[in-house]
């Protein structure tokens, strides 16, 4: 049984506009795993992600990421914390006014004093890892949906983070592009030795990449376990999620 948890959430309750979004959410994510946080739209996945990233103010110590409570860090701690994790947003969130190379280099410019030619090498290495050679000088607006996602992934891993968050990485992609993106994430996870937390509702992705499943329904964690355990679970909501997701 694994004990080295990277993320530990204990009894997290989130209320937005007097509405309970998350209620007593507790789970753990372990080092080196790909943990998929599942749930249908509106189940509270994105709110949970924002709590894990420290983007929502949180009271108490319900959330621990790499041993730190992300919502209660001072400026210096926060800077260090964010250099240790990568976030891959669902729409890419690349800055349209910068080239792909400049976008990917942004964290390096912000957090290091490395010489520009070394930064360029690092950026080109990461672009090569995501199969985007030759796009260094291109602008995000000239990339296809799949390329945009891969460029965003290159930016997310530029600091070699031990922890990578992926927020709905497959949204808007066709099945072939989705499969190749999943494989890319999996390869990079192994290559860079990252722990991956993937927020998704793509059942096909879960089968391809997930080691562990956390299923959220109406703001509550109703299943936590490995993928084989999830498939054997008799939980109605989870069964329904897998059944509908597979198109049965």
């Amino acid at each position: 049984m694994k004990t080295d948890s990277v993320i530990k959430v204990e009894k997290l309750t989130a209320i937005l506009d007097d509405k309970i979004i998350l209620s007593d959410v507790s789970f753990k994510a372990y080092s080196g795993d790909v943990t998929a946080i599942l749930g249908s739209s509106g189940s509270g996945k994105t709110v949970l992600l924002k709590h894990l990233l420290g983007l929502y103010p949180g009271e108490g110590n319900a959330v621990s990421v790499m041993g730190l409570n992300p919502s209660q860090l001072d400026e210096g701690q926060q800077k260090h914390f964010y250099t240790r994790l990568g976030v891959f947003y669902q729409n890419g969130a690349l800055l349209n006014s910068l080239t792909v190379g400049e976008n990917v280099a942004l964290p390096l410019h912000q957090h290091t004093d490395l010489p520009p030619d070394l930064i360029e090498r690092l950026v080109k290495l990461k672009l090569r890892l995501v199969n985007l050679q030759g796009s260094y000088n291109m602008f995000p607006s000239s990339l296809s949906g799949g390329m945009l996602k891969r460029a965003a992934l290159a930016r997310a891993i530029i600091m070699d983070p031990p922890l990578l968050f992926c927020d709905e990485p497959g949204s808007g992609l066709d099945p072939v592009s989705l499969a190749s993106l999943d494989n890319l994430i999996l390869n990079l996870q192994k290559l860079l030795g990252m722990t991956v937390i993937m927020i998704t509702h793509e059942v096909s992705s879960i089968f391809r990449v997930a080691d562990r499943i956390i299923f959220i329904d109406q703001g509550k964690v109703i299943f936590e376990g490995t993928l084989p355990e999830a498939l054997k679970s008799q939980n109605k909501a989870l069964m329904e999620f897998f059944r509908k997701g597979r198109g049965d």
Binding site: T83, R84, N96, S97, L118, L125, K126, S141, S142, D160
Partner: protein, 370 residues
């Protein structure tokens, strides 16, 4: 020999072998680079070995940094060998060590005249031709839609007239009143010294009717409506609304711009007349308070200074300005291809270019009319 204690990585140079210890990761890379650089600074050998035997961990940034040093030294004529250590480190050297593709920076060897020619051609094709093409398109549809009212959107013309004209009355009126006030105030002292107080009326009326009224109104409308037209069309382009209109068989120029053009052409002359009145009102206040000219005398003198021709020229100018503002706003809006960040950029460009064109057109018309 160079060593360090605080950092995870340490390096020692001995007999042309740079031994690396600890972890070489991005988090400590700045410090590691400094240490390695310092150690290598003492090296005079032509053969060098990077010994990774004692390295416990390396990430992709660490591998890239090693190859970065290798290439720098090779360029100086030093043969560098990277001698791997643990299996995991060797695997990472293999995975991340491949030379990334070179960026084609391209050498710029074009001559001055070639550069000048291609620059002129670019400006003409990219800006001027496009501008006149759109202007022709808008003119054609604006005129033809006057006779085909059933094809236009119901109520849109009124809506645009309110947005462009009626909603601007207060701000245009207030601004021209203040300008009339300041103009008269600045002139009052000079006129008083010549005993020509009464000419404050002529000065204010002529300046406001023929120049300041139309110009200030156009500048205000360019700032208010020109920017909003550019932003609206640019947003429509970014969100593919213009493509959607085309695929529904609707011409975006007719659907979006023509009502704005009609609205601006109808309201700007009225707005200009209101601006003229407000500006003269400002002059009246100063004439009464500073130059002891009674309101009745002011109005009587105004009738003499007042020429129908000035009003007519003001109205013609305002029509030209309205046309320039709408075409410029639309042109910059349509220039956006993709990317939300460009919306702000083209909005600014639309206002700057519209105001510049308005001033140029004003001076040309000034030369023609007087």
């Amino acid at each position: 020999m160079t060593g360090k204690e605080k950092n995870n990585t340490s390096c020692i140079l001995e007999n042309s072998v740079l031994k690396l210890y600890g972890e070489l990761t991005i988090m400590e890379l700045n410090k590691s680079l400094y240490d390695i650089d310092k150690a290598l600074g003492e090296c005079m050998d032509t053969n060098l070995v990077f010994d990774l035997e004692n390295l416990t961990f390396i990430d992709s940034a660490g591998v890239t940094a090693l190859y970065y040093f290798k290439d720098k030294l090779t360029a100086k004529g030093v043969n560098v060998e990277i001698r791997g250590g643990a299996q995991d480190i060797n695997r990472k050297l293999e995975l991340f060590g491949t030379e990334p593709e070179n960026i084609q920076k391209g050498s710029d060897k074009t001559g001055l005249f070639e550069k000048l020619g291609s620059g002129v051609s670019y400006v003409f094709n990219e800006f001027i031709a496009g501008f006149f093409q759109l202007a022709a398109d808008i003119t054609y549809w604006s005129v033809s839609d006057l006779f085909r009212r059933h094809t236009s959107r119901k109520g849109e013309f009124i809506n645009q007239a309110v947005l462009i004209g009626v909603n601007a009355v207060l701000i245009v009126g207030a601004m021209t009143f203040i300008i009339g006030l300041v103009l008269a105030l600045q002139s009052a002292a000079q006129l008083r010294s010549f005993g020509a107080n009464i000419y404050i009326v002529d000065l204010t009326v002529i300046a406001m009717m023929s120049e300041m009224g139309p110009l200030i109104t156009a500048i205000m409308v360019a700032g208010r409506s020109g920017s909003s037209i550019a932003a609206e069309i640019a947003t429509m382009k970014v969100t593919s609304e213009t493509d959607a209109l085309r695929t529904m068989g609707l011409n975006p120029v007719r659907f979006v711009i023509v009502p704005k053009m009609h609205g601006a052409l109808i309201t700007l002359p009225f707005l200009t007349i209101i601006a003229d009145m407000c500006g003269i009102g400002g002059g009246l206040v100063i004439a009464v308070t500073s130059l002891d000219i009674s309101p009745l005398v002011f109005i009587h003198r105004m009738q003499e200074a007042f020429l129908m021709r000035d009003i007519l020229f003001g109205v013609i100018k305002s029509l030209v300005f309205a046309y320039i503002i709408v075409v410029t706003g639309s042109y910059f809006g349509f220039r956006v291809k993709q990317g939300a960040d460009l919306v702000g950029k083209v909005t600014t460009q639309a206002v700057v270019v519209a105001i510049s064109l308005v001033i140029i057109a004003d001076s040309i018309m000034g030369l023609i009319f007087y």
